[in-house]
Every structure is written in C-alpha cells, then in structure tokens.
Amino acid sequence: MISLTVNGVAHDVDVPADMPLLWVIRDVVGMTGTKFGCGVAQCGACTVHLDGQPVRSCSTAVSQAAGKKITTVEGLSPDGSHPVQRAWVEHAVPQCGYCQSGQMMSAAALLAKSKTPSDADIDTAMSGNICRCGTYPRIKAAIKRAAELA
C-alpha cells in the first residue's frame, strides 16, 4: 500500500511501486484531467506538480511521489479561478483541449517562480509540452496575461 496526497486529499493505493504516477492518478485514484500522450516524457500532457515542481507523471514511478504533495490540474483551483485558467479563457486558448491540462500545469509552475516571464523564459518552460492543434501563440499570450492577473 502506497500513501499519496493528491490535491490535499490522502489516498492509499495498492499498486506496484514502479507503476507510473499517471496511471495511478487516472485509473486507480480516478481523476482523468491528467492526460496520457506519449508515455516517455516527450509531450507534457501528463504534467503534474510534485511539491510544486512540474514533472511528467507518465515517467514518474508512483513510489517517487509517495510522501510528496501531488497537484494535478484539478487542484489548480476549485472553481477555475487560477490566473492561468482565467487567462486561458480570456485568450480562448484550447482547441481540442487535450494537451491543455499539461500546458496549464507547466505554465502555472513557470509563473510560480517567474512573475514576469520573457518570451525566452516561456519558450524554455513550455517547449516540453506539445500541442498538435497549434495553439502556441495563444498559450504564449495567455501566460503573459496570467502574469498580470496573478
């Protein structure tokens, strides 16, 4: 049994220690906001925060997350009021929306350490997140807007 804290709620899960955190969150805890995209930490769709740091949950063993504070996209805010979410709405960022959980988690992590990120900061922080709908220009604009809202 492994004890996890997801968005402040404790979960005891009976899973192998090497099971990726992504599949524990999705299939065992039952929260589906965190997405599967590539399984090899190449696309960022599965990004969550471990003690505030963005990690790719598809390539993080659940045992590595035990005892740490796990934040998923559902934990960004209870009501969509996180500055990133508000900015995402203002700029109508999502198209299919599938990658946006990961995009928003990477953006939130960036803004947590950089109050006014430059274009280069944004490129560096966000280039691990793929969007096949090509919403990059809006993501960039929304991150700058979120910095103002924060």
Binding site: W23, K35, G37, C96, D123, C133, R138
Partner: protein, 710 residues
C-alpha cells in the same frame, strides 16, 4: 475530401427550407455521464429540444475535435431562434441515420464541411422551433402569428404589450403543426452570427472536466492494450501468453483481428502484460518487406510513364514556349493527434454500446453491428470529445478493437493504444511524387501546365465509389488550381500501391500538392524574371481567379510584401483553395545552415460568411502550425516492412520555441460559409520553401526541409 465532388442535395439548401418529417421521437440522448437532464418538452425536430427550465438542447451531428462545431453549429440555431446563447446546452447526437450529413449521407466530420453542410439545416431547425413557439403564443393570445416577434428567448406581441418565455410556451408549442417552410433571416438581421461568444466547451476544457474518449469510465470496465503485427497485414502465427498472464493485474489475453489483446485491471497493467507477450507473426501482408528509398524511385517512374488523365484543357504538347520541369517528393506522414487512439465498448447478450472519440459515428456503429451481429437499433454509439482528429479518426479501427475485445471477455472494455501503436498503425498521409512541367512563352507567360502525380489512393479503400475512371480526386487536389489561367493543362494520376495504409490528413491531397504547385509557380516566376506576387497576379484567371485576387491583395498588404517585418528575414508567398475557401499566405523566414526558422506568418482568407471570427482565426493559426510541423522534420519511413518511427522523439513536431507569430485576416463576405479547418495547412510549406529560395538560392523540392535543404 472536397465537398463539390460529392453529390449535393441541393434541395435542402436555400432560404425557404423544406423541413420534411419534423416529428421526431423524443430525445433519449444517451449520455454515459448520468446527469439530471430536464425532460424534453418540445422537440420540433431532431436538432432542437426546448425545455421547460429555459434551456434549449441543441443536438449536433458533428464531432468536436477543436475546430469549434460545438459552438458554431448551436450559434446557427440560436441565431434563428433568437435565443440567448448562454441558454444553449449541446449534446452529441446518437449514431442514427436521421443525423446523417446531407452530403456524406452518414455521420462524418471531415473535409471542412461541417458548417457549410449544416448551415441551412441548423438555421432551419431553429427557425422552425421559433415558428411553432410563435404559433403557440398567438393561439393563447388570440392574435395573428404574423403580428408576433421574438427576442431574447421570448415571443412578443407589441400591439398588446404581451410577452411569454419560450420555457412557458414549450408545452403548447409541442402541439403546433411543424411548418413545412420557414423563412431564414437575412444576413443584415444577424445578431449572433459574426460575433465571437465564449466557446461552449471552453470552461470545461480549462477546468479539465471535458470527457475525451480516453476518460470514459463504465461500471465494471476493464482495460486493454493490443499488440499489433509489426508489418501491415501481418497475422498471428502463435501466442505464448504465460508470462503475460502472470503480470499483476492481467485478467485475460485474447486474440482479435488486429493482434493480441491483454485485458487488465488498469491501463498500465495491460501495457505491461502486452510487453510480456511472446507472439510469432506471419508477416505475409502486402507491405511485408517494403522500404522507403525504393518507393520514391518506383513512384517517380510511374508518374513519368503512366497515369490516367484526371483533367485537361487545350493541348500542352502543342503549346509554344520554353519547357521547365521539376520533381517534388513528399513523405508519408502520421497524424499524431495528442489523444492516442482509444475506445470503450460494452458488448452484452442483447445489445452493444460504444464510446468513441470518432469522426465517423455511423462507421463505428456499422462495424459494431458486423462484429456482434446486432441490428442497428441494438448498437448505440456515444460520441466523446476528441483529443485531436486531423482525419485519423475517419477510420473506426480503434472502435473495432474495443468491440472485439468486449465481445470476447463479456465485459465493458476500454482499449488504449500506446503512442508507438498510433505511430506504427496509422492510416498515413500518402507519399507522393509530382512531376510538374510548364512552358513559358516569350513574354514570360505560362502557355502550358502539366502536373503528373503518383501516390497511393485513400479513396480506393475508404469510399471506392468515389474513384472515378481510376482517379482518386484527393490525390490530384490542388495540382492544377482553377484560379490560375495556365493556358493548356494536363493532370495525370497514377495509383502507386506500395502496401501502406493511407488515410485523410488535414487538407488531404492539397497539403502536399500545394507544395509542388506553389513551389513550381515560384520557380516559373523566377525563370521569367518576375516578382512572385506580380507573377501570380498576372497568372490569375480573369474570372475564376477574381475572388483569389482580393485575397492575394489583402495578404500582400497586411503581410507587407517586399518589406519583411523581421530583421534579416526573407519572404515567401503561396496560395491555396480548400473546402470552397481561398487563402494567401506570406511567411518570413531566416535560414542558418540547415536550420529554417519561421518568424512571422500573415494569412488572408475568404471563407464566405464568418460565423465565429475568433474560431476562424484560431483554425487558421492551428492549421498553419500543423502545416509547419508536417514540413520541418516529420516523415514516416519503412525498413523491411516496419515503420521506423516510434514516438515524439523520432517523429518530431512543432514546439513552442519554433512557433511563429501568426496574423490572420478575413475578406468580408455574405456568401454561404465555406471550410476553414484545413485552409491554413497547404500554403505554409511552399511559402517557407519560396522564402528559403529567396534567402539562399536553394530550391527545396523534397520534404521535410531537414531532408530537402542540402
């Protein structure tokens, strides 16, 4: 897929809409998320259900994959119904024939046709509901229906200063006779069409509450992953599943038509179990030993020596002028939608349910009927949101997996493919070899244009009836654009069949052929010693090119042709026509060694009436970025029958750091809406190539640029 090549049902179009059978059965919209929906009280037709709580359900027969139909189609209903847009509740229609697209004749979302096909139907559905609500109010008040108006979800009778909310009229309206004909609004009366209300899927998407196919949970469900043949058409010779069955969480191992499925208590256990399988394959399919280098040589030979005439005018051989020739080579490509292929099915003793992120609901239904032997009424297909489509989900193979596995294990099953399964089992964008020849006369005008194509056919498999005289119309789309006045023309198509499954990918045909056409037009401009913009302006057909002329002028002005806005950058230009819409695009590019950097893109488009300007802009932005991803480094290659690429580390796509600034401009129009979801994809690659030529003097005739720029 070009809508003008389907048989149109023109009867359904026009201002006065014949509604035909309006009495539909009450909505029993299946919804896998149990939700306390208010009961439907007034369903004047299949598309609109007015509820007593003041909301109106709009059923849409199109899949939402980011292109905005979840917002755009309900806008058409709300416009005609004079309904505040925030009262709309959208539902995906069930897979029933009454929800067939009027052109496709089934439920298909593709070819940038959703808005243009459904424009009169959704407006007519809203107008019919409005007419019946007015009739109910007029009867209650004892007044002439012609003296009533509607506004903001109410019927008004100004002479007596009376009003009634739709919610309060719903019960009475249900007893009114559906109108046979309704008059639609004139464009000057629009209050919603042409504005950009908040997308109806936006709040859920930023709060991660959207249910994609991969998120479906059915009580009692198990999870599956499928090991598929390493070569196309390969079959299972023998299975040793002893090790797989020992993996924690594995429940069962079953053979299905596409391979061997491992069924488990969670997705990871299923994948883990699949890795423990020991399967021997018979690699005896048509693509068992294919290799990429040979394909291009074979296709070029075919393009040069054979091929049926797909179109011609005048006599290209007799035309006078200096002959110029170039050969363009495009690779197979994978769609790589962010949501890997998946589906959920529950095959029970007497019925079957399928939950699928699909662009083809009725194909999914039909496939499930075939597997289960159930009649249509016993197979329900629930459409989920799609994590990208791009044409990949125009095939139902993932749903077939789910139905076959569920039938075998007698439980609800969600099958999820790995990214690698998706990469290696796609219906790929076809490779193509294009031999293009033209003659320039003494004045530098094009006197003849010949475009010879050899590529695998999509249509031959997907819709054989659409093959005409051996020509796959998608394969020759955009090879000889109508908007140009080329003089004599000849287009040929050779069906090159190397054994690779091919399918539709964003702007099929055009997404490659426009590269050949617009690169070659640029080559001709330079050969004639003319500016590429002026050369194109002069080349436009006086009549068929008139609409394009306005688009090109808009692009040239907004894009500052001849005055790059990026320091040190070179500009390239390309035109395209897709889905009844026209586009002109200017790219600003710098080249450093073999690195091509796209800094700024300006695109102008004419897509008729714009329903939602911000979604149109978003679609152009997205389609342009999709086109950049297709052109820069992406390719699918084969070695001894196997796909060489695996995942995003060796099938590389566009990322934030390489994404350009994009500006879009749309020509004002009151023409019927035409397609916008794909228009941005075809012109970006040739515009980049033309800018690369300007910058370096090197002509790229093979994509991706990482291969073609030497």
């Amino acid at each position: 897929m070009r809508r003008d090549l389907f048989i149109r049902t023109t009867a359904a179009y026009g201002a006065g809409l014949a509604l035909g059978a309006c009495e539909r059965r009450p909505a029993t919209v299946p919804d896998y998320q149990p939700s306390p929906e208010p009961s439907v009280t007034f369903a004047p037709n299949a598309w609109v259900h007015v509820r007593t709580d003041g909301t109106v359900a709009v059923l849409i027969n199109k899949s939402e994959m980011g292109q905005g139909v979840y917002t755009g189609l309900p806008m058409l209903v709300a416009e005609e119904l004079d309904l505040p847009f925030d009262r709309v509740r959208v539902q995906f229609a069930p897979a029933e024939d009454q929800y067939a697209d009027p052109v496709f004749k089934d439920m298909t979302t593709g070819g940038s046709t959703s808005t243009q096909d459904m424009y009169p139907i959704m407006r007519g559905a809203g107008a019919a509901a409005r007419a019946m609500l007015i009739a109910a109010a007029a009867k209650q008040w004892g007044v002439d229906p012609g003296s009533c108006t509607t506004k903001s979800g109410q019927v008004l009778h100004a002479p007596s200063n009376r009003s009634a909310a739709y919610a309060d009229l719903a019960v009475a309206a249900a007893t009114q006779k559906p109108p046979q004909n309704v008059k639609l609004k004139d464009a000057s009366q629009f209050t919603l069409i042409g504005t950009s209300p908040k997308r109806l899927d936006l709040d859920d998407k930023v709060r991660a509450r959207t249910t994609y196919g991969i998120d479906v949970v059915v009580p009692g469900m198990v999870y599956a992953n499928v090991l598929k043949a390493p070569t196309f058409g390969g079959t299972v010779a023998s299975v040793d599943d002893a090790a797989a069955r020992k993996v924690t969480g594995v429940i069962d191992v079953v053979k299905i038509s596409s391979g061997v499925a491992v069924v488990a208590s969670n997705t990871w256990a299923a994948m883990h179990g699949r890795d423990a399988l020991n399967v021997t394959w018979k690699n005896d399919g048509p693509g068992a030993h294919i290799g990429t280098p040979r394909m291009f040589a074979d296709a070029e030979k075919l393009a040069r020596t054979s091929g049926v005439v797909a179109g011609k005018s005048g006599d290209v051989d007799a035309a006078a002028g200096t002959l110029i020739e170039a050969v363009y080579r495009g690779p197979f490509l994978a769609h790589a939608a962010m949501e890997p292929m998946n589906a959920t099915a529950d095959v029970r003793e007497d019925a079957c349910e399928v939950w699928a992120p699909t662009q083809v609901q009725t194909r999914c239904r039909d496939a499930a009927m075939k597997i289960t032997g159930f009649p249509a009424g016993k197979v329900q297909v629930h459409t989920t949101f799609l994590g990208g489509g791009f044409g990949r989900r125009l095939d139902p193979d993932y749903a077939v997996d789910a139905v076959e596995i569920s039938k075998a294990v007698k439980k609800p099953v969600k099958v999820t493919w790995r990214r690698e399964d998706d990469m290696k089992n796609d219906f790929y964008r076809p490779m193509s070899v294009n031999v293009v020849r033209a003659k320039l006369d003494a004045a530098g005008r094009v006197s003849a244009w010949e475009h010879r194509v050899a590529s695998p056919s999509i249509v031959k498999r997907w819709a054989p009836a659409m093959m005409k005289n051996g020509v796959d119309f998608t394969a020759v789309d955009s090879v000889t654009p109508e908007f140009y006045g080329f003089g004599a023309t000849r287009t040929t198509y050779a069906d090159f069949e190397p054994g690779v499954p091919v399918g539709f990918m964003r702007a099929p045909g055009a997404n490659w052929n426009t590269f050949a056409t617009e690169s070659f037009v640029d080559e001709l401009a330079h050969a004639a010693g003319k500016d590429p913009l002026g050369f194109r302006m002069a080349l436009l057909d006086p009549k068929k090119g008139a609409r394009m002329r306005a688009v090109l002028q808009l692009a040239a002005g907004k894009g500052a042709w001849g005055r790059p806005q990026t320091p040190g950058a070179s500009q390239g230009l390309a035109l395209c026509d897709w889905g009844g819409s026209l586009g002109a695009l200017i790219a600003e590019v710098t080249v450093s060694g073999k690195d091509v950097n796209v800094h700024r893109v300006v695109m102008a488009a004419d897509c008729g009436t714009v329903v939602h300007p911000d979604i149109v802009a978003a679609q152009l932005e997205g389609a342009i970025n999709y086109g950049i991803a297709m052109a820069m480094t992406a390719k699918i290659t084969f070695t001894d029958g196997k796909v060489d690429q695996n995942n995003f580390y060796d099938y590389t796509v566009l990322r934030m750091k390489d994404a350009p600034k994009i500006e879009t401009h749309v020509v004002k129009s009151t023409a019927r809406p035409s397609g916008i979801g794909e228009l941005g994809t075809p012109p970006i690659a040739p515009a980049i190539a033309n800018a690369v030529f300007k910058a370096t003097g090197k002509r790229v005739r093979q994509l991706p640029f990482s291969d073609g720029l030497t």
